[in-house]
């Protein structure tokens, strides 16, 4: 198990380094002028030169990358000469071109929004998807099965933002069941936090729930045909044990694999959900940073979200090793 964990950790580290190189590389591949962006278009050449020195933009790309990565791990000093040193504490992601705020603190304030959406939605889609899938498989061919599968098919074809807008229009605006949806901090008012997040959770979970229901249904049907299920029934185990223990364990294995892969997709979905509901999370931060050519913020969001997805994948991987011991040996 220890070897398995170490191997996974190294793999994740590799992915993170690759991501950082790609994210960083994007900004050197295509000609753009960060110093001009930073100091404003009307600045004098001297100011621009000073900015370049200050941000280290005259260094070769690999050195800039090294400084950037070093900044994340041990912090970084920006300096345009003696007496003017600005220390950027760990983890340093630089400063926003627009507001001059540290990127780290911008991200830190927006992260909970995106995180809240994705965590709740993930729980919802896992539980509802697996439950609907198993139920459909058990009641195969029934009205429930057909109905669920038709809704699931519609679900995989609906864009997240369309579901979100329909929900907002009907539930919030027309029926006034959950009026005035806006983000509330969990720490301020947990009940209100959940109440306002119900619609975003449903909107994001719908798509994945549909996918999981279809997959679970197929795997359950396959598993129910296995010999060991017949044996379990033949030796007189109650149906509840046969389904709840023997079948479900086999069904959960592929679901967990896919769950790991879907976290990245879920992140993408959360960004769209944020925008549809007008929450200001990481996605909105990235979009407005793109609009304003605020490169440090864009890089920061990309790195942070990759980091989260990689860590989440790592956890899922380790969990997977627990559920299915064969994986560890592979």
């Amino acid at each position: 198990m220890v070897r398995f964990i170490i191997r996974r950790l190294l793999g994740s580290l590799g992915v993170l380094i690759a991501a950082s190189i790609v994210a960083f590389g994007i900004f050197f591949l295509i000609p753009s002028n960060p110093a001009v962006l930073y100091s404003g278009r009307t600045s004098s050449p001297a100011t621009i030169q000073a900015t370049k020195v200050r941000l280290g933009l005259n260094d070769p790309a690999y050195e800039q990358y090294y400084h950037y990565m070093k900044g994340i791990v041990v912090g970084r000093d920006f300096s345009s000469g003696p007496g003017d040193v600005n220390h950027c504490p760990v983890p340093c992601l630089g400063y926003s071109f627009k507001s001059n705020e540290p990127v780290t603190s911008i991200l830190w304030s927006r992260l909970p929004v995106t995180f809240s959406i994705i965590i709740g939605a993930a729980v919802l889609w896992l539980v509802s998807g697996v439950a609907i899938g198993v139920l459909s498989a058990l009641k195969r061919g029934s009205v429930i099965d057909r109905g669920a599968m038709i809704v699931a098919l519609a679900g995989v074809s609906l864009p997240v933002f369309f579901t979100a807008l329909i929900l907002l229009k009907l539930v919030s605006y027309d029926w006034k069941i959950l009026p005035n949806v806006h983000y509330v901090n969990f720490a301020d008012d947990p009940l209100n936090w959940a109440r306002n997040l119900i619609l975003p959770w449903i909107a994001l979970a719908f798509l994945f729930s549909a996918l999981y229901a279809r997959l679970t249904r197929a795997t359950t049907l396959e598993t129910l045909g296995e010999d060991y299920i017949r044996t379990a029934r033949a030796k007189g185990l109650p149906e509840r044990t046969v389904i709840g223990k023997h079948t479900l364990r086999a069904v959960l294995t592929p679901i967990v694999t896919i769950f790991g892969l879907d976290l990245a997709q879920g992140f993408t979905g959360a960004i769209l959900t944020e925008k549809a509901f007008g929450f200001v999370g990481l996605g909105q931060t990235a979009v407005s940073a793109v609009d304003q050519s605020d490169l440090p913020v864009v890089i920061g969001v990309v790195l942070l979200s990759t980091f989260i997805v990689v860590i989440a994948n790592l956890i899922v991987d380790l969990l997977y090793g627990v559920i299915d011991p064969r994986v560890r040996l592979a």
Binding site: G14, V15, A18, A19, V22, A23, I26, F27, I30, S32, G141, M149, L153, A154, V156, S157, L158, P159, V160, F161, F162, A164, L165, I166, L168, K169, Y173, L211, R214, L215, A218, L221, E222, I258, L261, A264, F267, T268, I271, L272, K275, A276, G278, G283, A286, V287, A289, V290, D291, S293, L295, V298, I299, V301, V302, S305, T306, V309, V310, N313
Partner: protein, 325 residues
Amino acid sequence: MTVPLEATASDETADPEAIYQGVGAVEGRTPWQIAWLRLRRDKVAIGGGGVILLLVLFALLAPVLTRLEGYGPYVFHQNLIDPTFQTPLGGFGGVSSKHWFGVEPGTGRDMFARIAYGAQVSLLIAVGATAVSVFLGATLGTIAAYVGGFADTLVSRTMDVILAFPYLLFALALVAVAPDFNRKLLLILIIAGISWPYIGRIIRGQALSLREREFVEAARSMGAGSWYIMFREILPNLVAPILVYSTLIIPTNILTETALSFLGVGVQPPTSSWGEMMSEAASGYFQIDPAYMIFPGGAIFITVLAFNLFGDGLQDALDPRSSRR
């Protein structure tokens, strides 16, 4: 879509009998003919295919259709807009015999024309991206499987990394640094860049097993080179999965394109796109003028659904045993 399992099973058993009863002499059928027969019987898939055909016609004939209706996609009609609320006059987004899908709130531009030209954009980008990603996925997947070793590790790891990325943010970042690049081409390349691993993985898996087959050995013993074996012996055997997965990847690509437009990094205005209309609707209009989100949203839904139905049916017909996600 889902043909119930028992139907597919009975189809296969019924097939040989049908051959004997249908015609006097025994006729050979190619696998393609058998697949076509199976597909033809799948009404849902054929329905999906029909809708796809109509959508392609709708997109191609957009200039003709808008001329037929009489209003271009860029013409403002301020006289059709309520000056206080900025919403279209008349019920359901101003739908009338003159403006079939109503008009856009704020500007009064004709929605039918904008939806039709939006179909052009979405289909062009999705199909273009699919073509590039199929090319990349099939080539790299085959090479990885056949050559093995370092090439395999490199391609496989790259695919894993791409699949684990929150790609929308990378797309945003790319658009941020290349604002002046041809946007449609950039979108095609970005979407292809994130979708090729889906094809690549499947092709690699299939090519791995084909590599060990006798006909490959035979070709090698007759002195065929690696390139010849990869692209003339192995790849032609993978046409069926390639076809299936390109059909299934088109709807995903359409969703990605609309998502990027929704976030404001799609094609540039005034070119209309479905995602951009949804984004405008999301900024507030959808509450007072729901038609403005229902037309583009419905267009996306119908298009994606049609491709999903057809792709699922195609998979059942060509590759009945494969598990489908």
